[in-house]
Structures are given as C-alpha cells and as structure tokens.
Symmetry: D2
Subunit: 299 residues, 4 copies
C-alpha cells in the first residue's frame, strides 16, 4: 500500500525533497505559506493542503522542514498544529536544523500524544537534495526508523543513524560547527597566504596533498567565493544561527570552546556588514578585506 | 655523471630522505652530530663527513634539514659553515621548516656568494619520508629547480613549485597553519559531541560524508589519539613553533587572525601541561579533559 | 501617606533591600518561596504574603528581584502573577538582571495593562545592599521615575537614569560585560607575571599607579582570590549567565565581540571544572592553574 | 659632586626626561640622531655629543631610551657602542620598553664588563614625563638602585622596585598587557552599548561607579577617542609591539592567554587598516566601525 506523506515546508530543501518523494511513488500532500511552491510539487501529482490540519490528517508520516526552532514548535505544538490533527499511530519526522532542546520538547510531546517521532536533519546542499543525494542524520527508535527508511532512501543516499530521538539534531549541530569553523580557518589561511604572495592555485594544490585537505577549501570555496560567486547557498546569517546552536549547547553542557567562540565572533562581525546575506564562503572575502588584499580567484 | 650530494641533518625526516637518495644512485655524504645516525646511512654506501666543511666541499648540491631558524643560520652562515666551503657553482637546498625571513636571509647570502638556493620544506609525515612519498613545497628559479628536481623525485612523489626562493617556506607556513588550527576545531567538535552523547563512530562517518570532512579527523586522529596513541609524530611543542611562524608572519604583514590567535592560545595552554611532548592529535585529549568527558576511542 | 510596597524575591539582594525599605518607613509586604527569608523582614515589621496575589493587591509599587528571565516572566506574566492582581494605577519595578528582550516584553505587558513600569537592575555587591549603598541603573519615564525615586534612595546611594524602560537592563548588561571580561584580563596578567617571577604586591602597586588600574584587580581580587577566599559573592555560573546576556544581545544586534567571545569561552571552560560555584575572582586560580603556577596571595 | 649623565635617545620620553635632569642640576650630555632634539636640551645647558662614544666616556651613569630591542642591543653592545666606551665603575640604565630576553642579554654583558646595570621602563604618558611625574618600574640590585635613585626622582614621582635586573622589563610588559587588553574590552563594551541605544555619558558614569571602573575608559578614552582625538600618544603599532612582547613571553614560558590572544588579533587587525598610526584609544573607533555605529563623543 502506498505510504501517505504530509510534507510541511517547501523551502530550498523541502521543495526538491518532497518532489523526489512524489516522483518515487509516495502519495504526498504538501503545505507551504507560498502557493507557488505548492504548485511546483502539485505539477508532479502531489496534493495541496490549505492548512496544517489538512496536511496532517490521514497521513502515515508527517514531515516538517522549517527554518528554526520557533517555527517547528509553532507548527507542531500550536493550537491548530500537527499534534492536534495527526492520526493515532502516525509518525512525525522533523528534518529542520533546530536547537536540540526544541527537538527534545517536540519528541516528548509526540511521546505524550502516542505518535512516533524521528529527527532527521539534512546534510549537504540544495544541489544534492535536487539529485536525491542528501545525507540524513537520524535520531529514532528501531521501530520508527523502519517506518521512515523508505522515504529517506527516496530523498537521499547516505542515511546515518545517530541514536535515540534528539541525536540527529545533535549530530547536525556538531557537523555544522566543524565545517563552519573550518571555513573560517581556510579563509584566514588564504588571506594570509595571499598577503605573503602565494598563488591561490599553489595553496589549493599543496593543501590538497597534505592532511590540511578539507571540504571547505577543496569543495566549497573553489566553487563559490574563489569563483567570485557569493550568491547564497547558505547565508552567513544562517551559518551564524547554526554556530549559535553549538555555542548554546556548549554553554548548557558546561563546555568552553575557544576556537568556536572566535568563529562565532567572526561570523557575528561579518553579520554587521554586507556579508550577512551572502554565502558563507564569503568569509574569504571578509578575511581578505580585513587583511587588505584582493580576494584571489580560481576561475 | 653521478650527482654528489652533501646532506646535513639526519633527524626524523633527514635520515630516511638521505637514505633514499643513496639507494637511488646519488653519491651522498652525510653529516649529523649523532654518529649513530650517520652509521645508518653509511650502511647503504654513503660517505660520512666529520664536519660541515667536509660535507660541503666538492658537492654539487648541499641539503640541510634542521630543526629551526637559528640552526639553519648557524650551519649555513656560520664562520665554518656551508657558505664558507661550498664550491662555486654548487647549490644549497634547505628543506627545514623555518621562518620565511630566515629563508630570505639565507637566500640573499647564497646570491651574494654566487651559489644557487632552493627552499623546499617537507609535507606529510616521517612515515611518508621512509616510503619516498613525501610532498615538497619548492621555492626556486627555473634553473635551480631543474638541478634539484631529480633529487626531489628520489625522495618524494609530490613536488609543488610555489614561486621564487622563499615561497616554499611561506607555503609550508600556510599549510601547517591550516592543518593545526583545523585539528583544534576537530578536537572541540568531538569533545562537545561526546558530551552531547554522540558516538565517535557516528561523528566520524557523518562528518566524513559532508564538507566537514578533513584530514585532521579522518586521517590523523583516527590513527593517533582516537586509538589512544599520543606518541609524537609531531609534538605539540613543534606544532606551536609552526603556529608561531604563522602568527609572526601575520604580525609582520599586518594581518589579524582571530581563529589563528585562539588556536595559538590553545596550543600555548596545552604546552603548559603534560601534552607538550605528546603528538599534536592529543589536542583531543586536552579538549576532552577540559570538557570533563573521557576521550573517545575508535580501535 | 506611607507608600505601600510589595516586594517579591528575598535573595542575596532582595533581603537586605526590602529590609532597608521597611526600616526607612515604607509599608512593605514581602513574598518569597523560603519562609525563613520572610521571617527576617517580618521581624522588622514587614507583612508576609502567602502568594504573589497577596503581595501585589493594594500596593502602590511592586518590586521584583528574581534570578533570571523565566522567573520574572512567570511571576509577572503568569496566570496568577503580578499583572493579574496589581491595582490600576500602581507600578511594577523589576530590579532583576535579565535579558533586555524579557524586560521589553514585561514593559509592553505593563503598558497594555495600564500600569507603570521601571527596570532598575542593581550594581555592586550584597555587602553594599546591606549598607543601603547600592547603585541602580534605571530605565523609566520621568513620571514613573518620580514615583520610585524615594524607594531607590532608601536602598542605594547612586541612582543613574539610563533612558526609557528597558535601558536599565541594557546598562547592566554592558557594565557586567566590561567588568567580567576585565576580570579575566587581570587573571591572565597576574598568572603570566607570576610565571615571570614578579611579586604580587609589585604588580598590584605598579598597575595601581598607571592607567592599568581597574576595579577587578584593585577592589575585587585583593579582597577575594588574592586572600585565598573564593566563597561566592558572585559565582562563575552567574557571571557566565551575565556574559551570555551580552553575547546574545551582540548576536541579536549584529555585533561581533572578539574579546567578549574569548571571555565567554574561558568562563564556559571554568564552568566545566570545580570553579563553577566559586566566586568569579577564582578566574585567577583557574588562570594560574592553567599556567602551572601557584595562585599568589596578598594577605 | 655633580653626577654626570650621558643620555642617549631623545624621543617623546627621552627629550622631556633629559631636560628635567638638566634642569634639576645633573650634568647631562645628550646624543640623538636628530640634532634638533639635542638643541632643545642644549638650550637648558646640556652638552651635545657627536656620537655614542662621546656620550658615554667620563659619565657616571649612561641612560638609554630607545624604541625597541634591536636599537638597544646595537647602541649598547655594538662595536662602537656604550660598553666599548663606558668608564669602569660607571652604570648603564636602560629605560626603553624591550623584550625581557634583550634586557637579560644587556644585563649579562654589563656584568661581564664589570659595570652596573638597571632596567627602568617608564609608565604613564609623555605628558607626565614633561611634568616630571613619570612612574618607573625598576629592576636593580640595592647598590645600583642607590646610585640611580636621585636621577629617577628628578624625572618621576613614582618609583617601584620590581626585583633584580630584568624585572623592570617584565613588570612593564605585564602592565601594558593589562591596560592594552582592557582598552579593547572597553572599546567592545562602548560599541555594543551604543548599538543598544545607551548614551555615552550614562555608560561612563555608571561604570565609573562600579568595579567596572578602569583607567582605559575613565582616564584614557575620555581624553582621546571620546573627544574625537586620535592623534597618537601611543600608536596602535607600538601597542601591538608591547602586546607582542607579552605573547612572546607567554609562549616562551608555556602559558596560554586566551584573551591576550584575542586582543593581539584585534590589534593586528587594526594595524591592517588606517588605525595603525593612530592613538591606541582609536580601538574604540575600530570597534564602532565594525559594529556599524558612530563612535560616540563626550566633548
């Protein structure tokens, strides 16, 4: 029998992911505040809901992909939200990147309501979501994981179980902390190297041949800032949000993160400038501007 | 005709590198303060010198692999040093990791003396040097590069030209700045993730599948600290020296490096503890100890 | 006519402050979850309330001195809270140190309810509160300030008007950011100086004679950590809370604070250790322990 | 008998200090590369030397006030320097702010040459030097201190003995580390407070009434940046030099300074901009510019 999926939130990730579900044989009902986004998925055969209730009732699985913790709490826990309308025995899978405490509150509310809960934040970029090549970090019981696994496989290629509900959110937080902080290390390295007179191609090739190799230089920046492209795949503002999740988790858990703090301050400084709405690879432009050198190019 | 090479400095890198030169048909004369090290290369057929003069006279190329700037300046520029004895028309190749200003002073002295100069610091680890798989970052004129290229190919597999003399030192500085700072980011990420309850295997696999992937976690730490091994491949003290080169270069060139500064402070703090003489992957142990969690293991 | 004051929250600050009000002729009704604290003020003639409602009804002014934002919002905005019971035409003065957004929400609720609102966080220590020598940072309209001024003068000697409602909270945030970050600078300075062999008395006297002079060294630490006393006047945990308010305000307002971030990380690291519940002057002990020197003493 | 003093270095500090010595009855011989500076002191009756030798021979005390370590080493230890010409039984007092290792080398050379040595760096500003109100941090034996004390009293009002030779340099390093780092804390505090809408007078008065009070805000900035005056009393570049002395000492002594590192990075960043040659109170302008607010004024 076809699995029925209610899909709430058709942003940069939700739109291609819901489209892939519909294409691959799931019965998808979409809801978003922007009708144009719903139209896109409807063209593939998905149903359109007029509100959260309609996207929720009668579904086997409800998926949420929303910007931040308050949105998830409002959509799931609100008076006319998902938990007010979801079928007994159905399951909620939240794929947003939110505060782990928020995930815990939603998980607890699902448990109290008697519905399953899975948190499965998304790794990689919108490009990968379009190709169905996303990576998912999944917090779920064995039983709940079995129920969502086919849907996850329809949307991505790499599915990592990270533990009980809530551990997906925590894994996402660590992943983005590591990559965003590394991005700033790369930005500082290139800025200093450029000031010392090194060619960008040389820096790229040499660090690509040692353990200095990392995805922020060799996958991200070569395709973005080093091509002069700072159109946002992931804005400095959103990156700052993710770093803030990590710093808050560190504070709550009594951990001091000296480099994390420095990174948070740099992203915070970039947000005071025009970089705020640029791609986070524009950290390179910010670092080069601070160092008084032109941002190098690899076209 | 066989190229004659004087090789001064048989440490963790110099010993296997000179051995490879001798094995691959160069006529090598070695010098080190430790006779036992000379014995090892002599067993392969190399000649032993009794002092710098003897290691220098009559050679086509003199190679130095020494611990730090003062050693290089003493050996090359000293009263009875390399430049006092090197043949006209010969060439000095310094493969030490030293301050770029030091490299510039040595290069200028070579130019004044009318001998060629190449700086070619070594990437990768002693393990790679033994296998002849080192990476070299080479600052040289075209003519000088042509003269050292066969020797470099006998010692390594990846030879990167970085520009004029002095640019090899600068590239090494950037490379190590990037990897050492990234190591601390990885240490903080794992410490926080462990405190949040994440399994080390999960963190390893997930970050290996996103742009968070980097050599410090996925090549270095999996083979060292995460196996409980902190025997030094590269000590915190030496790593601190390299970070200091970067911070000094930044200061001299009027660049502020907020994350570099934070990293420098962390390495500096680790040096006040027993970590000083441990492998730099023990940053993980330091971060976990600071966070109040056990260092995770991947055996 | 005697001004009637409901006083909610009899902690380290609220207890001496309410006592001073009662001593100086105000008609005080106190409420706290701890009956023993109410007994202390009742001995001076104050009335005891059994709940928030009783502490609120019939008062001219209601004063709250509570630990953190959630407590203030619960006590003021809760179903059976201050705003549910306060008389028309009365006024709420919150003297807690809380998030400025929280202050703004409470201020807005008061405005909507038609009652006056003043925020007046407390500077200086419990010692000063006992002596009636507190400093207050007041956010209030002219009319509301006139109503609370006599009460403020009964509790403190230095009353600073900082602007409209909400500006008292903001001033407190800046004040504590400055002093807490400076405390860590002092801690690092003394730790390094001690390692360099300098006597603490020398460091104290010299920096007391230059523009390096500051309250953290010359008022705080000489009376606490440098006497071997780390009994909390103000714990590292509470100090971390205050620094977090500043970092959050900076984030919200798009300001990067590189030193603030470093301070936040240090306090965060101290919280992972036994320093968490010690006086914040124990930053000195933490810095000296990290530097591998004994904490100096000035007895 | 009148004490004969050779005075080498007539910069912002040396000029008024040597003038005060001459005015107060010492027999002063001055030397500086700038003849105009020598003219100024000669007008008061001082003798002019044509070189270091002439400023050194026949003096009881030779005083040096020079920009940085290399200058002191060249002037004192050079082939035709102070130690080549100083009388047996005379004494060298270096009042420059230099690296403590440099001070130690000069002290050792003096001991080997059999002449006394005192290091006595200067606290406070040029303004105070003119008034004869400087503060001195003195490293000296009892016997040597007795010999220089009258001269110190002619130039300043506050004379602090800090221990054996070398400890004056170390005390200066700690003093400036503390005040320069605090200056940046003040800059960040004012920038954030301004962004939050607080008036500068309010911030000044409130923090002046709590333990947040410090010389950087309440003595320095009120007279410089907050008056719109960034004419250098002490440039960012020189301040960076002093911070670097502290960071180097920390490195050498295996101490990590997280806030010091952050401060060093900020000063380093400011040096990449036009602030480099402005007064260090212009940290405030830098912080406000980074935060996107106008620098406040207190005229």
């Amino acid at each position: 029998m076809t699995t029925r999926i209610g899909f709430i939130g058709l942003g940069a990730m939700g739109l291609p992911m819901s489209s892939n579900l519909q294409r691959k044989g799931f019965a998808v009902t979409v809801f978003d505040l922007d009708p144009a986004k719903m139209d896109e998925v409807a063209l593939l055969g998905a149903a359109r809901a007029v509100n959260i209730a309609e996207a929720t009732k009668g579904q086997d699985i409800v998926i949420t992909v929303l910007p931040a913790t308050p949105h998830v709490e409002a959509v799931v826990l609100g008076d006319d939200g998902v938990l007010a309308h979801i079928d007994d025995g159905a399951l909620l899978m939240d794929m947003s990147t939110i505060d782990a405490n928020g995930t815990d509150r939603v998980a607890a509310a699902c448990a109290a309501r008697g519905v399953g809960f899975v948190d499965a934040p998304i790794g990689r970029l919108a490009l990968h979501a379009q190709r169905g090549e996303s990576l998912f970090m999944v917090g779920a019981s064995d039983a709940d994981f079995a129920r969502v696994e086919p849907a996850l496989k329809a949307m991505g290629t790499d599915i990592y179980r990270c533990g009980a509900p809530g551990m997906g959110s925590r894994m996402k937080l660590i992943n983005n902390f590591m990559l965003l902080s590394t991005a700033q290390i790369v930005a500082e390295s290139i800025a200093l190297g450029t000031k010392l007179g090194l060619d960008i191609q040389t820096m790229h090739d040499v660090t690509g041949g040692t353990t200095a190799r990392n995805g922020q230089f060799h996958i991200l920046m070569v395709n973005k800032a080093l091509k002069g492209d700072v159109e946002p795949g992931f804005t400095i503002d959103l990156a700052f949000k993710d770093l803030t999740l990590a710093m808050n988790a560190a504070a709550q858990n009594r951990v001091g993160l000296p480099m994390g703090a420095a990174a948070h301050a740099v992203f915070g400084g970039a947000r005071a400038k025009h970089y705020a709405s640029q791609d986070y690879s524009a950290l390179l432009n910010y670092a080069c501007d601070n160092a008084g050198v032109e941002t190098p190019r690899m076209d």
